[in-house]
């Protein structure tokens, strides 16, 4: 059984590899993103030494790391699932002897691995050359970061699965998917670190799963969270991962019961 899922990861990885235009453009576009946010933040800082507890140098590193991490955890599983529900091909997926949601997660993982190796690593090298990014040299920190990155992927994927599955109930959930996409970018701390938000919003966001996607791992690698607190951050991620399994399980059960294949 496990070799089946490993193969799914491999196949998706190879499929991604086949489309070469994707990764040339990917590296360039991710670098432009890092660059644009670097200059935007530099302008926001102006003469100020530190804002929201971040110095300019920390902010630069935070921006670079967060965008590169996004390359790994990002996927379009919600759109894929919604499309399969809409065009009816989900019916075939359901009669196959595997777990549909696990299959989707594995495919997303293959895609993430592809982007990690083909976008993030070369993109990071490019960012190191172009911008004053300072990466830690402590191997332990990197290990913890990689582990946290894996949970970022899991939590983001869970949110995508949930959004995608809503297509079972509303038939066309384009608007919701768009909303989810922006919420993840904004509330996860990718666009603004959570500590910049006004106090009420910061408190609110601490109770939502989004911060576990970008803010926590990026804070650990930039050294904003250290020692025992870093492990607590990992703990928060694990708690969210476990908690999110419950609604997915519920929605999935409900969804299968009311599946209507439209056309075919």
């Amino acid at each position: 059984m496990s070799s089946l899922y490993l193969d799914l990861i491999r196949i998706r990885f190879l499929t991604m590899l086949a489309y070469r235009v994707n990764y040339y453009s990917g590296i360039i576009i991710y670098s432009i993103n890092i660059g644009a946010y670097y200059f935007l933040w530099k302008a926001i800082y102006g003469d100020a030494e530190s804002l929201g507890g971040f110095t300019v140098a920390e902010m630069t590193t935070y921006v670079a790391i967060s965008w590169m991490a996004r390359a790994f955890y990002f996927n379009n599983l919600d759109r894929e699932i919604a499309r399969e529900i809409k065009d009816g091909s989900v019916a075939i997926q359901l009669i196959r002897p595997y777990r549909y949601l696990v299959v989707k997660t594995m495919e997303g993982f293959g895609e993430g691995l592809f982007r990690l190796l083909m976008f993030s690593v070369p993109g990071m090298c490019l960012a190191l050359l172009l911008f004053p990014v300072q990466l830690p040299t402590d191997a332990g920190k990197w290990l913890l970061f990689l582990l946290m990155l894996f949970f970022s992927f899991l939590i983001n994927t869970q949110i995508n699965l949930l959004t995608g599955l809503f297509a079972f109930f509303v038939e066309n959930n384009e608007g919701m998917m768009r909303l989810k996409r922006v919420s993840v970018d904004l509330f996860s701390g990718l666009i603004i670190p959570i500590s910049f938000f006004p106090v009420w919003a910061e408190t609110l966001l601490k109770w939502l799963p989004f911060q576990a996607i970008t803010y926590l791992p990026s804070s650990v690698i930039t050294g904003r969270i250290e020692g025992a607190e870093a492990y607590a951050a990992l703990g928060t991620q694990i708690v969210w991962f476990v908690l999110l399994i419950i609604p997915i399980f519920g929605v999935w059960r409900l969804a299968r019961k009311r599946l209507i294949v439209q056309g075919g």
Partner: protein
């Protein structure tokens, strides 16, 4: 005349399909607006930590944002063909489009038109008027005409860029790789270009001219010295970009070979 009746027919079909999923129609309108509000939220949060962004005040940035939303709404209504490669090229739906007498691009635009996106334009206009009022701007009578011309120019730039990007699908078999990634880049034209370094400024002005969709034309009304000339270039750049986009498209369509089964 022929095209006018086609457009009416498409609109009728559109209304019928949309009314099947009535709830979704409103979810989409609301989520579109929420999307814009969240982007605005970024500006508000940032200005809690600073008073000026490279010499621009909060209201000025919000004004630019409001302007940007108008062409953006028009773009999402007509040119947002994000899954074109997948649906039309890889799955071969383009066959159906090409066998009909109406120009293929016109058909695609009408088939995928999304009129609720125009609510975004309206909201943008209101945000712009509000920010302008806060800034104490006094529009002269012809400023409204200038606004119209600039918005048309900006929308043409948007259209041209995205038509060109969409036609990449004809040249490489790539799945929707580039179009979604461009969503972030278009946002950078909303901030004063003088904050970026030369490379990015050059990129946003001459290569993928998103600066003409936001900061340049909006600055015309703010009487910012530096960008006056650039603002008036907007319609010209728009015409050129749209022409290039359609040209790349037309050459691309000739390379389309169908998709087997």
């Amino acid at each position: 005349m022929y095209y006018a009746s086609i457009i009416v027919d498409y609109l009728k079909t559109y209304m019928k399909t949309r009314m099947t999923y009535r709830a979704d129609f409103w979810i989409e309108v609301v989520s579109d607006l929420a999307y814009q509000v969240m982007n605005l939220f970024f500006v508000l949060v940032v200005f809690q930590h600073t008073n000026l962004l490279a010499g621009w005040t909060r209201e000025e940035i919000i004004f630019i944002y409001g302007y940007f939303m108008i062409p953006y709404g028009i773009f999402s209504c007509f040119f947002d063909l994000w899954d074109f490669a997948d649906r039309y090229v890889i799955k071969g739906e383009m066959d159906r489009v090409l066998t009909r007498p109406v120009h293929n691009l016109v058909q695609l635009v009408l088939e995928n038109a999304d009129p609720p996106a125009l609510f975004g334009s309206l909201t943008g206009f209101l945000i712009m008027v509000y920010a302008g009022w806060q800034l104490g701007l006094e529009p002269r009578w012809y400023d409204w005409l200038v606004l119209l011309v600039l918005v048309i120019g900006s929308a043409m730039i948007y259209g041209g860029i995205y038509i060109a990007l969409t036609s990449v699908a004809f040249y490489s078999d790539s799945k929707t790789g580039i179009v979604p990634m461009m969503y972030n880049i278009q946002n950078y034209g909303r901030y004063p270009v003088d904050i970026y370094n030369k490379t990015i400024r050059f990129l946003l002005t001459w290569v993928i001219p998103f600066a003409f969709v936001g900061v340049y034309p909006a600055a015309y009304f703010l009487d910012k010295e530096i960008t006056r000339i650039f603002a008036l270039l907007t319609p010209l750049v728009g015409a050129i970009v749209l022409m290039l986009g359609v040209l790349i498209w037309n050459i691309g369509v000739k390379r389309y070979r169908g998709a087997g089964s």
